[in-house]
């Protein structure tokens, strides 16, 4: 597995640079919107990636609730963190595009609001993880993730009742898209997904290491009072423990 990581890293770097070239230079300029439309190649792939990550988070949370599997908990944590980052990218690039095209920064449109609410839910998820005491964090977080997932359809229907200003889905929604543009979009999405997977993976390994260190430190703290006179040697072991 360890050999796969650098391969994935190199692949991601190559894909990202190719996707950047495709999006900024190779893709045809949109007729009415001009170059500002190119933000689409970052906005939409980030959104798809974020939604996939949130879906993985929901799935991992369910697995944790049923099996109490630590790995599932770490996956949930990691996907939520990276998902919030990608969701932030979506929420930032959206208004930058909307200002010249729609003439407004923000509107309470269906998909905008849904993305914002998802972002809020997952930020509160991360806040909960930060604030709860360590032993109960995974369980509480998993429960909140289930609540958040149940909320999504309700948010959808509540905002669906308002008028929708967002461009209709260009893929599979009856809209037409230049095949060249679609190609660039999919390349960008692939690159972003690989990048997200890479970040999640390294964050996963970091979290595993961090928990191991915490466990070692806790064990040492348990052993410490018994030999308080040999504290200097204990500090030495805890230092080596931290390094390992």
């Amino acid at each position: 597995m360890k050999r796969v990581f650098p391969i994935l890293a190199i692949l991601t770097a190559g894909l990202l640079s190719y996707a950047l070239y495709e999006a900024l230079i190779a893709a045809p300029t949109e007729q009415t919107m001009g170059d500002v439309q190119r933000i689409f190649y970052y906005h939409v792939p980030s959104a798809w990636t974020a939604f996939i990550l949130f879906f993985v988070n929901f799935f991992a949370s369910i697995v944790y609730l049923i099996r109490r599997n630590t790995k599932a908990d770490i996956v949930a944590l990691v996907t939520a963190e990276v998902g919030v980052i990608f969701c932030t990218v979506v929420l930032v690039t959206g208004p930058i595009w909307a200002r010249p095209v729609w003439g407004i920064w923000w509107t309470w449109d269906l998909r905008l609001t849904l993305t914002l609410v998802l972002w809020l839910i997952y930020v509160s998820y991360l806040v909960l993880r930060r604030f709860s005491s360590s032993g109960q964090t995974p369980l509480l977080a998993a429960v909140l993730a289930v609540f958040g997932a149940l909320d999504v359809p309700l948010v959808y229907f509540s905002i669906w009742f308002f008028r929708t200003q967002h461009p209709q889905p260009v893929i599979g929604g009856g809209g037409s898209i230049d095949p060249r543009m679609l190609h660039v979009l999919l390349i960008n999405w692939l690159a972003f997904s690989c990048f997200a997977a890479l970040v999640c993976w390294s964050r996963y390994r970091l979290e595993v290491l961090r928990r191991e260190v915490d466990e070692t430190l806790a064990l040492e703290a348990l052993l410490e009072p018994r030999s308080s006179q040999t504290r200097s040697s204990q500090t030495k072991t805890s230092q080596t423990g931290r390094a390992g």
Binding site: L65, L120, L128, G135, L139, V143, L144, F147, S158
Partner: protein, 225 residues
């Protein structure tokens, strides 16, 4: 089933008796929402026409913040003298405790609403132009939506540091569709411009979904170590 009903009744009766004697929750909620009403009233100073349009938002923001005050106190009482730990080791089903707490909070917030509604009418010159009989339905469904999730998240935030801050942070994002529905339904009834049916159905769906989810998951939260 009878044990669940019996335990729920016993816990609810205990909570109501405690509240009747201390009046902690209702007093703080009442004063809090009174402040919100007064501050909003003189910072906006709306005409009758305007206030009809914004009243839905004002009323529910006031009740939401007031409900958080009460919800934060629900479980704090059980932490003193390790009552909650005693409950956990007893064979009593967790859902009986949860249901009793939800019903208790529902009663407190409903009493609050009954007391505050005249004040709202006085300060904002309110008169419903739509079908007024729908207002109690919206109030009941909306209060249940706030209280069922609020009680659940209050139990969750017991297990965190700085729990008083945690509750709104967890409750508000999840409650967004319910809040939107309450505000829109109230606005629709007050202005009489459009029908509130869709929002009432949405609120009912929200209540059903989250009541079931809370009942299924409350055991986990209560037993969390």
């Amino acid at each position: 089933m009878s044990t669940v009903a019996g335990l729920t009744r016993a816990t609810l009766a205990k909570d109501l008796r405690l509240e009747w004697r201390s009046k902690d929750a209702i007093n703080s909620m009442l004063f809090f929402s009174l402040l919100v009403v007064v501050i909003f009233s003189f910072s906006f100073d709306p005409t009758a026409e305007e206030s009809r349009r914004i009243a839905g938002g004002l009323v529910w923001v006031a009740f939401l913040f007031a409900a958080v005050v009460a919800l934060n106190q629900t479980w704090a009482r059980e932490l003193r003298n390790q009552v909650l730990d005693a409950y956990r080791v007893s064979p009593a089903p967790p859902n009986a405790l949860f249901l009793a707490k939800v019903m208790g909070n529902f009663i407190f917030v409903t009493v609050l609403q009954a007391l505050m509604t005249p004040l709202f009418i006085v300060f904002y010159n309110l008169r419903a132009l739509g079908p007024a009989y729908q207002l109690p339905i919206v109030a009941a469904l909306g209060t249940w939506a706030l209280v069922v999730n609020g009680t659940f998240f209050a139990a969750m935030s017991l297990r965190t540091r700085s729990r008083e801050i945690m509750l709104p942070l967890l409750l508000f994002p999840i409650s967004i569709p319910a809040l939107l529905a309450m505000v829109e339904a109230t606005g629709a009834i007050l202005t009489g411009e459009f029908s509130a049916k869709f929002w009432i159905v949405l609120l009912a769906a929200y209540d059903v979904v989250f009541t079931i989810a809370s009942l299924l998951l409350f055991g986990f939260v209560l037993q969390a170590e």
